[in-house]
Structures are given as structure tokens and as C-alpha cells.
Amino acid sequence: MAKFVKKPKPLPAVSTASLPDIVFMLLFFFMVTTVLREQDLLVEQKIPQASQLQKLQNKTLISYLFVGKPKNTGLYGSEPRIQANDVLITAPDIVQWVNQERDLLAESDRGLITISMKVDKDVKMGPVSDVQTELRNADARRVLYASTTKVNR
């Protein structure tokens, strides 16, 4: 009687053909959601948390002001500073900066300019109110206190 010797079949390799598809999917997701950093942050930014957040519809109307302790304390000191675009400015420069930002908008939208204030947690109200006073002087009165969603305890 002949013995049926089972020839060990080589295990079929796991198909990796769909791997590129998966990776491409992830790739497209990140490509779509990504915003390349337009500016280097010169100040520390630990954004505070809040619960009543609203999202603005029209992103083009938003200009950003960063307030916080400078990262390079040797050069800029340790007091909170204001960053607009790529440079640190002082409070009286804000009016000029707002006017520049406003000029970039369409004429019909100029009254709706919104300043997103990204203020570090550790900043005190003093610098914040100085910025707000200047924004009032520049008549850019819509202010968005940037914050992240608070996780409910």
C-alpha cells in the first residue's frame, strides 16, 4: 500500500498588495487636513480650555495674535510679548497691524475682521487688556479667545 506522503505546502504569503492603498488613504487624509505652518512661534503657547466654543464659518476673516512668554528669554526677556505674523510687536503697533490685515480682505468684509487671540495660560490680564484696548482703538472689535475643548470632569 502506497503511503500518501503529504507534501508540506508552502504557506501562502500574506498579500501586501492593499498596503499601498491603506497608506495612500492615510496620506490623503493628512494632506487634506494639514496646514503648513506659516509662521514660527516665538512665544510659548499653552492654550487654555473652555467649554462654550464656537467655530467661525469664514476662516479668511481671522487674523492671529499670539501672546505669551518669549521662547528665547535671553533675547526677548521673560515678560509676555505679542507676536503678529513673524515678529514680536509692542501694543501700540497693533493698530497698524490691524489696518494691514484689514487691507488684505475684500472691501465688503473689512468690518467683519476677527482677531483670534491665542493667549498662553500663564499670561496675566494686564497684557491681554492692553491688546484689547488697542484693538478697540483699531476698531477691530470681534475677538475670538482661542481655546481647546474642555474634557468634562
Partner: protein, 204 residues
Amino acid sequence: MSNEINAGSMADIAFLLLIFFLVTTTIASDKGILNILPPKQDPNVPPPDIKVNERNIFNILINANDDLLVEGEYRRTPEGLDQDIKDFILNFGAPDEEAVALFNSLPASIQAKALRRPESSDNPGEAVISIKTNRGTSYELYLEVFDMAKKAYFEIYAERVGLSADEYRALTDDDEASKMLQDKGKAGIPMAISIAEPDKIGGN
């Protein structure tokens, strides 16, 4: 012999790109708390002398040590402040004719909240929340208190139109239906949060 192009290295290339975007990505967050600042004051024109009854103002003071004084009462943390603000707005202590009509239009669940205390606000149209800080107050606490005041208003608006506060805040004025809901929630109860200029104490 097959004529297929070897696509094995495709995954490597894709990974490389993926890692690049993973590293450079910052998911944009344009979320925040919206605040409309008051217009600039003309130094030549004295500020208008507006008479508001003391009982119609809900005073919140925050000092440089981050202690709170709410309606003359000392507090360590802002916890529970949103509930107090809600009670204050919906007090209906001495409603005029308009406010009575507003009161009757509110759903029963909100009507039940009217405490009718004589020392609290007359009606929601008159009620003002005033937040005053020192220059040394931390921004984080200020934002937390401001957030609470907003929360109180949004919860009232949302309850009026039968939504949750989150749903109400997500309403946009893009389409007619949600704009109508938004207006219906707000009608007669203006969001009056006043932010006083900080005192020059404890800061620079």
C-alpha cells in the same frame, strides 16, 4: 514571465510622504469664545451716564490672587457660577409688561426657574453680568468665568428651542431654519456680559 511593473516600492514612497505630512501637520483649530469689544471711547465725550439698578447687575470681581467676589460673597473657585448666573438672569423680580409677555412665551421648565427674588434682576432684558479683573488676574481664570457666563446664556437659549446647549452653539446662520432657531432662542434675552477695564493692581 510577467510584464507587470513591480509596485512593491510604492508603499515605501507613500510611507515617506505620509510621515512627512504626519510631522508637519497641525490640525487647524479655529475654535474659541467669541467676544465683541465695546467701541472706542472718545476722550472728548464723557461716557454716557447710564442708570442701572444695582440689583440688575451681577457683579463678579476677580483679584490678583485669583479669588472671586461674586455679588459681595467670597469664593475660592468659580464652580457653580453658571447656575447662579442662570438663576440671576431668569429671576423675573419685577417684570414690566414686555417681560411678562416674554415670561409667558417661555417653556414651563424655564418658568419654573424664576425665583422672583426682589434683590435679584428685574427681567432678563435688564440683567447684566459684569466681570471685573485686576491686571494681575490670570487669563485662564478670566476665561473660565467668561466661559461660565456664556454657558448660562447658551443653556437658556437652547432650552427655549428644545435643543442641547452643544447643538445650539453649533447652529450657523447659513440656512434659514437654523437662523430662525437661533433668533428664537435669543429673542428678548440679550447676552449682556460686560467686561470692565482691569484695575492696576498686581500686574504691570
